[in-house]
Assembly symmetry: C2
Homo-oligomer: 321 residues x 2
Amino acid sequence: MVDNWHSCIDRELSIVEDVMMENLSSDNPELTEMCQYVVGSGGKRLRPALCIMSYYACGGKDCMIPINIGSAYEIIHSATLIHDDINDMGETRRGRKTLHKEYTVSKAIVAGDFMFAMGFRLLADSAPNIVNFVVEASAAMGAGEFIQKDYEHAINVSEDDYIDIITGKTAKLFEASVKSGAAVANADAEVMEAFGDYALNLGLAFQIIDDTLDVTGDPNNTGKAVGTDLLEGKPTLPVIFAMRDEVHGGRIKELFMIPEVSMDDVHEALELIRSTDAVQRCMDVARGYINKALASLDEVPDSEYKQSMIALAHYVVDRDR
Amino acid sequence: MVDNWHSCIDRELSIVEDVMMENLSSDNPELTEMCQYVVGSGGKRLRPALCIMSYYACGGKDCMIPINIGSAYEIIHSATLIHDDINDMGETRRGRKTLHKEYTVSKAIVAGDFMFAMGFRLLADSAPNIVNFVVEASAAMGAGEFIQKDYEHAINVSEDDYIDIITGKTAKLFEASVKSGAAVANADAEVMEAFGDYALNLGLAFQIIDDTLDVTGDPNNTGKAVGTDLLEGKPTLPVIFAMRDEVHGGRIKELFMIPEVSMDDVHEALELIRSTDAVQRCMDVARGYINKALASLDEVPDSEYKQSMIALAHYVVDRDR
């Protein structure tokens, strides 16, 4: 039931797949292949879904408008994942080798830049007046990634620092996707802001749960090995909470500070984190953001699509459990 | 005399420096520092200059319009240089360490993405209707870099392949800069096309000469070691011509195919290339493009700024000699 949130836009989401493929083909067969490798490896397509749902919820009628914009957002999101994987030396994503592992790092950097540009192009072609939304979000993503790098293996990261990081890394693009859909449906400023607040809070909850799954998740569901963030020294919320645990916090800090941590250390850290209340606290924080997201929707008129957005919020906290 | 081509827009070019700095400051001090490191290391600012000159030549009066657009182009260009340097494992640029050598590769990737986004933002804020020009050029840059990677150490690259590469890598952004300036001054379509042809041909000549300077240049003027392209296996026009030399072509091919070439090999290759007519032929090809560029300007009304564009064309073939 809960993973059925997208049933009223399934047709649109399947067109998104085609639009992305069309917009990423170029004269260079290997470049096309690389782009297809990335977008063809799946994903929940949350950004296109948010854009399409908000467009319809605001009374929009021409399905191709939010499909094109949503596809552009997904392409830009995919481009950032390529560069993130290079930066994190990630080996797998969605159960497949990362792009730079399958092709080289230098080709993957260029392919990321190319996808970034193609995403902007599709957006500028479809709706030039909303380019600013995505550009703001892209700038925030860069800043978020940067702060995260600065805090690698750091034990003094606060919950606020973490929220700043994931606001830039994830939530801002969610917000931009949904506001873009509302904007091109000519929504009132208040409605657009309400949708924006919904998506920003949804994005925060989504990322917190994603980071929590790195501690508790089943690799068969998440598509990546458990403990990846720990291996990379990323100060995620479960780690931040666990480092403050009275019993195990000291040892978790020690393990987290090791620059080149071993898999044995990662497994020890995972065991210790799971033995604290960190995961539970993360879920509570995530549910707090989901409640904020749902409260924002109170201010917009009811519709089938608003109901889907509510269902999506419930899905985000209940997925992969 | 010849390097005085920009005298009528010197005031505007100095404002470009300030606009770039302002638009690249963020809450993150190190990110700001990295951006300043890149744009603060100088450069000829050809893209802003082209945009400003064409704007004025088309009757535009508000100097801040082409200054903002031109600054956006220079920021985007700088962003691509960061990623190019990572891909080419470049150690120096403009006489200083490359960004990824001074900070890490992963921070440099993020800083490049950030600058790319900030450039788009400035452009979208200043003139949303010309976003498409820069996006097309960015896509072409990606494709050009990609083809170049495919041809590394390859001995079967034709002059046409090379022109395809540098069209994407360099000339398209020149074209976009100048067309953007004309477009925001409300130039006729014909005038805009004429300026576009000028800049495209100027860009081709500029890159051919840049590549030729890698064989003949003085590192004190070019800011990078001679033979860098050879070391990286880039099939530039002098190399393509020299590989066809009846006497030395065979040996040059042998040296060019070595994947991890030594500095001794590079120096041998440089000596051999200089002993052929390759450099002379490159200069002839570059002059051919400059003549095409100048011919395109015949179709636009005369002005102080058109005269500067003519002077710039002469400067491009005569610089650093």
